[in-house]
């Protein structure tokens, strides 16, 4: 029996989208994104350290203004997807050297029998490659608008 297909727009909840990130640095952006999780302060700190280690291994800035910080961690028991947007963009050492404006934080538990982590990671990376600089994801006014646009883009994948 196959598993149900994963739908990004159904995983993403309005409360997990922050369209006006304030931070001006990579670490600041990561901290703001981690602050959107359900973790307590200590666990947020542990996760932040983990994400910074992952960035040192190679930037998750995949170009076109998008970065997808990600890692697996024991700290959460289900996959978590958090979105953040920065108006001016931040240097994330992206592949195209351009500032990153849109951030998708993905945290997955080690215990992930359906391998949702790689599926979600792959879908978002694919979706990001099809974005243009004027895409509505960069200008959506509300988290709900953002999810609608994500849904449209996902259907085209």
């Amino acid at each position: 029996m196959g598993s149900a297909p994963i739908n990004l727009s159904s995983i993403l909840k309005p409360g997990q989208i922050s369209l006006n990130l304030k931070a001006q640095s990579r670490d600041g952006i990561l901290k703001e994104l981690v602050g959107q999780t359900s973790l307590n302060e200590k666990a947020q700190h542990m996760l932040l350290v983990n994400l910074k280690q992952r960035e040192e291994l190679g930037s998750t800035g995949i170009g076109k203004g998008v970065a997808i910080p990600h890692c697996r961690s024991l700290l959460l028991n289900s996959l978590s997807l958090i979105v953040g947007r920065s108006k001016n963009g931040v240097d994330f050492d992206a592949i195209d050297k351009k500032p990153s404006r849109l951030f998708f934080l993905i945290i997955a538990p080690p215990h992930d029998p359906q391998n949702q982590y790689l599926i979600v990671l792959g879908k978002i990376a694919q979706l990001a490659k099809g974005l243009t600089a004027n895409d509505a994801l960069f200008s959506a006014d509300t988290p709900e608008d953002f999810i609608l646009r994500m849904d449209e883009l996902e259907k085209k994948l």
């Binding site: 999780t37 359900s38 973790l39 307590n40 200590k42 666990a43 542990m46 350290v49 983990n50 280690q53 992952r54 040192e56 291994l57 190679g58 930037s59 998750t60 995949i62 170009g63 997808i68 890692c71 697996r72 961690s73 024991l74 700290l75 959460l76 028991n77 289900s78 592949i95 538990p109 080690p110 215990h111 790689l118 990671l121 792959g122 990376a125 694919q126 990001a128 490659k129």
Partner: protein
């Protein structure tokens, strides 16, 4: 609050997982457009720094469990140890001091961590 030694074990586990996946899944991630540096030197260094802080007796047990099972720290989800899939005794599953003490599964012996939902 989380027990300081358990915090180190979780950090150790997550770091080891990152090292493993950055080796085994590097091709998959690179195909998605991510950069993965060949050198994991900084991760190995971070790992040994964490190991130095772990109580030697606990570290010894961690390493033995790793050798035996691969994953020495496992989450408890819905009262079940995700290492051996045995339901915890009620007293352990409902322990309000979860994560504040070092706990091992009564069946497989793995270190237990109660993650956030």
């Amino acid at each position: 609050m989380i027990h300081p030694q358990l915090e180190l074990l979780v950090t150790l586990h997550d770091l080891e997982l990152m090292i493993k996946e950055s080796t085994e899944e590097a091709n998959k991630q690179e195909a998605m457009g991510f950069k993965i540096e060949a050198s994991q030197e900084h991760l190995n260094k971070a790992l040994s720094e964490v190991e130095k802080q772990v109580d030697p007796e606990i570290l010894n047990r961690y390493k033995k469990l790793k050798q035996k099972y691969g994953r020495p720290v496992v989450p408890v989800i819905n009262g079940v140890c995700c290492g051996c899939y045995i339901m915890m005794p009620t007293s352990q599953a409902t322990n309000v001091k979860r994560n504040q003490t070092i706990t091992n599964c009564g069946n497989c012996g793995r270190f237990l961590y109660w993650p956030a939902v």
